[in-house]
Amino acid sequence: SQKIEQNSEALNIQEGKTATLTCNYTNYSPAYLQWYRQDPGRGPVFLLLIRENEKEKRKERLKVTFDTTLKQSLFHITASQPADSATYLCAISDNTDKLIFGTGTRLQVFP
């Protein structure tokens, strides 16, 4: 069956450290993978998109990698801040007109 798996346990890190979140998928061959941020009670907010032919994408303190062999994407936040505390969602397209989300990983950054 098709799955998108993110660590369901919350990730707790200290301010200033790098947070690394993982997204694994099975039985998909996505051409694109996206990462979103979701705050409690709010809609998801787009962060980054990475294509299958791109190994890495950066935007300010954010970095995403995409390994189509491992079927995995890693999402890094460097120099993390308490304001980065949120749930981060991985999403892929199965080449139809729908974007499928993982369960998300909650990140908590402590001062």
């Binding site: 809609g43 998801p44 787009f46 397209s93 007109d97 729908k98 989300f101």
Partner: protein, 116 residues
Amino acid sequence: EPEVTQTPSHQVTQMGQEVILRCVPISNHLYFYWYRQILGQKVEFLVSFYNNEISEKSEIFDDQFSVERPDGSNFTLKIRSTKLEDSAMYFCASTGVGGFNTGELFFGEGSRLTVL
């Protein structure tokens, strides 16, 4: 900055009643979506809409659900006869030319539906 707006922010209804959730997508967008999120669970795809017709729908989107773009600006989700399990946050989203595969999906802030 343009945004997707949704109304109502919260609706409480009795089981069996009809509910209409409204969305105003970003004005030059062409692709429209409804997602839902049951409390504590993942964001689930319901339906996509392009060129005034449904382009994709999930198993959740059964005959009780319908979507409409009645006037070129609003995009509505109707649930004909609500069930307890329809209680969730419903998100509208839109994106521009090329669809979400070439860019971001813009989400509204959601409409929380509570079915009693």
